[in-house]
């Protein structure tokens, strides 16, 4: 099970000491190191309140927009593209962003990849029946995803791709054909769901011909409760 670390600045000063990140940045930028609390202090004195407020709003927008598309937020991108000169006050800005996400939007910022510092938003509010239809366009996709997650769950977390395709075919969703609702089913399952971190689609080593297997992705681990899957499976098998 992947470690879920809550991004916050609630660490004690000795813990938030500068630690060098093993983050590889391919454009030659200096890797981002967490500023010390005294650096943050000095940094805050450099900017006016309204400048910092503006930056907090920008970071919030950035995260919300990325999350709408279910793309994880990469800390390096956030620092390079949005924070820029404000890197030294990053902890303070993030603290306020996390607070706003929590209190105003009902979201929790969660680090799903501690090595590359990738973050997603998870919903603190339970998905309700009636709000789902309002998001109708994405709803059928979620139904399909749930089917796949259930199958993987039943098979204890790993499943050969052939089993998934066969299951879908039985539901008249053929990966080989263009589906009226889902379009290119194979692309939806192996590309879109994977990019959104709902599924993992990995090659099985030493197989000839090449075989792939499906697992739950990091976002599914965090967003989808096992209880919901069991409930879903119960509904389907009635």
């Amino acid at each position: 099970m992947t470690q879920r670390k809550r991004l916050s600045n609630s660490q004690t000063p000795s813990q938030s000491k500068r630690r060098s990140d093993s983050l590889e940045e391919d454009d030659g930028d200096m890797p981002f190191t967490q500023p010390s609390s005294s650096q943050v202090q000095r940094g805050m004195e450099k900017f006016t309140n309204s400048q910092v407020d503006q930056k907090v709003a920008e970071v919030l927008q950035y995260i919300l927009v990325k999350d709408q598309k279910k793309i994880p937020v990469r800390r390096a991108d956030l620092v390079r593209n949005i924070l820029k000169d404000y890197r030294n006050v990053y902890p303070e800005i993030i603290r306020r962003v996390v607070q706003t996400l929590d209190q105003v939007f009902g979201f929790k910022l969660v680090e799903i990849d501690t090595k590359n510092h990738l973050y997603i938003l998870i919903n603190k509010l339970e998905l309700s029946e009636a709000t789902a239809p309002l998001n109708a366009p994405s709803n059928p996709k979620m139904g399909l995803l749930f089917v796949i997650l259930s199958v993987i769950f039943m098979k204890r977390g790993v499943v050969k791709e052939s089993l998934i395709w066969n299951t879908l075919k039985k539901l008249r969703v053929d990966p080989g054909e263009k589906h009226a609702l889902f379009g290119d089913v194979k692309k939806l399952v192996t590309d879109e769901f994977v990019r959104q971190r709902y599924l993992e689609f990995v090659r099985v080593p030493h197989t000839e011909p090449i075989e792939y297997e499906f697992r739950w992705g990091q976002r599914a681990e965090v967003e989808v409760s096992k209880a919901k899957i069991l409930e879903f499976m119960g509904q389907v098998s009635d």
């Binding site: 407020d53 709003a57 209190q103 939007f105 009902g106 309700s128 009636a130 709000t131």
Partner: protein
């Protein structure tokens, strides 16, 4: 108005974020649902207070849920707006620079038109005059389709107009870019792209079609509210949705 946010407010806000625009009936239904789910108090005529509470918390983030009237049907619509962006750059995560330039030019054509519409051929013709990077006509057509899908423009019989969502979100941009040029409704004082215009050459005031319907309702002989000349245009009739509040 220092009311605290509850989960019902948060759920409402989250839904607004994923839908981006909703009419008053949908907003009411959502409000009811959010209150039901979280067992909060829900008085039907308190929707705007509910939204004001959310807006108070959104303001420090330069965001607001704004309300505006559709030029097509006169209904009120709610839109979540990012106030920090005053240009089409708010769309820059979804559209390339040249696509945004095409959109800006489309807005140009619509604002300077008399009827608030532009036909698709006119837009496609400017596709190869773009200064950023030219678009082929087929590519420009794709961009227009996406703009329609993303609810920025409406298409009807080959003509494009700005959607209600677009007008509400881009209002500061339009007012700033087209300060002298943009038409304004004499009755509600909002931007008027699709509207009726007084015939009198010394007057020329503009009124939205739904505003005309409301203002001249029941009058036997309509006269221009500004110059008193006979108002020569057909007075449209708009169906009012159930329980639409007057605000």
């Amino acid at each position: 108005m220092a009311r605290q946010l509850g989960d019902s407010h948060r759920r409402f806000l989250q839904s607004m974020m994923s839908i981006s625009v909703m009419d008053e009936q949908e907003a009411r239904a959502l409000y009811q649902h959010c209150c039901d789910v979280h067992k909060a108090q829900c008085a039907p005529d308190k929707l705007d207070d509910f939204i004001d509470t959310i807006n108070a918390k959104l303001q420090p983030m330069f965001m607001q849920i704004r309300k505006g009237m559709s030029e097509d049907n006169g209904f009120q619509y709610y839109v979540l707006v990012n106030m920090a962006e005053t240009d089409v750059t708010r769309m820059s995560s979804d559209y390339a620079d040249n696509e945004l330039e095409l959109f800006r030019k489309t807005i140009d054509l619509i604002v300077s038109s008399e009827n608030g519409k532009v036909c698709s051929t006119d837009v496609l013709n400017i596709a190869d005059t773009l200064t950023t990077k030219k678009l082929k006509k087929s590519e420009a057509e794709q961009v227009l389709n996406r703009l329609v899908q993303d609810k920025w423009i409406n298409e009807k019989r080959g003509e494009f107009s700005l959607s209600t969502r677009c007008i509400i979100e881009m209002e500061p941009y339009i007012r700033r870019m087209y300060e002298d040029q943009v038409k304004v409704c004499h009755i509600c004082h909002n931007i008027a792209l699709q509207c009726q215009i007084c015939d009198s050459p010394t007057c020329g005031i503009k009124i939205h079609n739904p505003c005309v319907a409301r203002y001249f309702k029941g009058r036997v002989e309509p006269h221009c509210p500004s110059c008193d000349q006979f108002w020569p245009h057909e007075i449209p009739e708009f169906r009012r949705p159930r329980s639409q509040s007057r605000r």
